[in-house]
Amino acid sequence: MLAPRRPSTAIMSDTPSASLGPSDELPGDAANDAAGQPAHVILLGIPNTGKTTLFNRLCGLRHKTANFPGTTLESRIGSVKAEAGTLRLDDLPGVYSIELNQHEARVCRETLEGSPDAVCVVLDATSLPRNLQLLGEVLRRRLPTVVAINMIDLARRRGIAVNTEAMEAELGIPVVAISARSGEGIDRLTSAMTNPRYARTTMPSDADGERAWVDRLAQVAEADTATLDDTLTDRLDRAFTHPVLGIAVFAIVMTGVFWALFRLATIPMDFIDSMFGQFGAWVAGVLPEGLITSMLVDGVIAGVGGAAVFLPQICLLFFLFSLLEDTGYLARATFVVDRLLRPFGLPGHAFIPLLSSHACALPGIMAARAIPDRRERIATILVAPFMTCSARLPVYVLLTTLLFRDRPALAALAFTGCYALGALAGVFSALLFRRTILRGEGRPMALELPSYKQPSVRDALMSAWDRGLVFAKNAGSVILAISIVLWWLAAYPVSQPSVGSVVLTQGASMVAESQPEHAEELIAQAKALDATAQLEHSFAGILGHAVEPVMSPIGFDWRISIGVLSSFAAREVFVSTMAVVFTGEDDIEGAGVFERIRDAKRDDGVTPVITRATAWSLLVFFVLAMQCLPTLVLTAREAGGWKWAGLQFVWMTGVAYGASLITITICHAAGVT
């Protein structure tokens, strides 16, 4: 039975077990028989007690990411298989105290007031005394409780003993020593969770009483005499936070992360890209020709593929972050970065969001939740998209190749310059915001420095999985919808074959037998003409023409404008749109496509569409412009209002336009054509 046993002196309260409905509510949930009613357990603990590892071990993949309504605070709900049945486990955010005025603490309080069936408080065996305050606060709530003393293996290695039996006798609730990492004690914990009890002692509410209670409990647990030998930790801390050495170590670590992102991740990225391409071709071959097939292949599959291609980078990034955090290094690095970012009004915590944004701003902005100060958090969210994300890379490649055809060294330099431009624009924009609309002294940083330990690959994999799933859901749906919209706008209204293409087609049919290769060439040219004409007369083309007056000062004609407009939905679409606009084919790597883009002429037939000056202007524009609808949506959600998303869009696009204008003016003045 899962009903908690209560001491006779306690007030009988009605806490009905929360039962789940149909057994397919939680992932992996087996059918429950009538005897075992699933119960609702809350997992609570201070940060760095291995709560995440414990949750992963108890639930594995059987969990979902959940949200506290009305907040951006995320949490996980999982299901635990116990002997008596299945438990629902809610993982609450780690807090040092539930009585704080913090958002996370408030949410924990409210969840506890929702009368869960049981609470499992996770404590750190290697530093028990500081955990006991939270335990006392939880016990004050008079809920059935279980205590899990985690990292018992680590404690043993350090010669720290914890007397769990004495604690259990003192408190009257189950106290189980476990190691979430190795699995020790987990079975005893799950069965204890099905038999939680009300504590027989509660912590007094005055400060002195609290101290006395905590001290007594520490004494009982015999955890008040252990000391850590931490000379190695001290030395490492000093090295990692050293003004010079610390930055050097940080630079090395970051180089490693970037290398992994842009070398290692390209392997699965290319695979996904080709897989979707082949899938699209297969579907086109299998299904009958028609509009629906066309929408499926060119709209849906291309769109979903375009989003899916970023998954490897995001998963790899969060895999590495989890490993780094687990080792304990990340907390020290936060102080190093804090010194670098403080002059710009950003805290050390901003480094993960800003770094993640180099892969994709979406996980970066979500990571900004870790920033405690509201103004600093909003500033980080606003400028995160300035960091060059992977979607911009195909555009950079196209333009730098156009500019530096045979000089790869210069192209690489320009590439790096783009990254630098984005980052600088970001931090200086942050500085501006923090001096104007987000003015205020930042919160001084106090961070717990966990002990150094071996990272858990399993936790890192779980983190990568979770983040990837969130990205796929958030971004994927928006990008899919946008792809469909773009497809339709480019397809309608339908234009009839132009005179030129009809002539070419007729010519092809005339030489079809005598010169079959020439005939094929003519047909290809006819198709190209038709495709470009189609794009020009479609709604997308009409829009392109409409914005041309605004775009021409920075060197964009209507063709480029179509590309820029459509890339507001997804940046990488620019390259394939340019290919279609100029050549009728959407594969930039097709034979001659790149050359045709380079040689394409404007409406006067003489000036090239993409002059060198235009290419520079385009490059600068793409570095700085806000061209990502999913990011805008997320900004609105995370910063708490559409005014922030609006500001982000206007500011970034304004900066981009201004910078492009300056670029093209300089180019013309310097005689660059």
Binding site: A18, S19, L20, G21, P22, E25, L26, H40, K64, T65, A66, N67, F68, P69, G70, S75, I77, R88, D90, V107, E110, T111, E113, G114, G290, L291, I292, S294, M295, S477, V478, A481, I482, I484, V485, W487, W488, A491, Y492, P493, V494, S495, Q496, P497, V502, T505, Q506, A508, S509, A526, K527, D530, A531, Q534, G584, L629, L632, V633, A636, W642
Partner: protein, 83 residues
């Protein structure tokens, strides 16, 4: 000379004449209506989820007093029938 129409590149165009501008939409093709419906749904979904219409229409709903974790907007046990 017969003009040979090669197979359609994107879709079957219907010849448009100046007196019949709507002929540039293949209204006779049932598939056109399907894709246009999907297009309309996509726009509607974007507007509802992306633009702040939802916030405007939802004004007046009071916040829940107790905090309960939700998955995709629903309580995981919301479908349980109370006994």
């Amino acid at each position: 000379m017969r003009s040979i129409m090669m197979e359609p590149i994107l879709m079957e165009p219907i010849l448009a004449t100046t007196s019949n501008p709507t002929a540039s939409f293949p209204v006779g093709d049932w598939q056109f209506w399907v894709v246009t419906l999907v297009f309309a749904l996509a726009i509607a979904w974007l507007c509802w989820n992306v633009l702040p219409l939802r916030q405007i229409f939802r004004k007046g709903r009071s916040a829940p007093k107790r905090t309960v974790l939700t998955v995709e907007g629903e309580r995981p046990d919301s479908r349980a029938k109370d006994h």
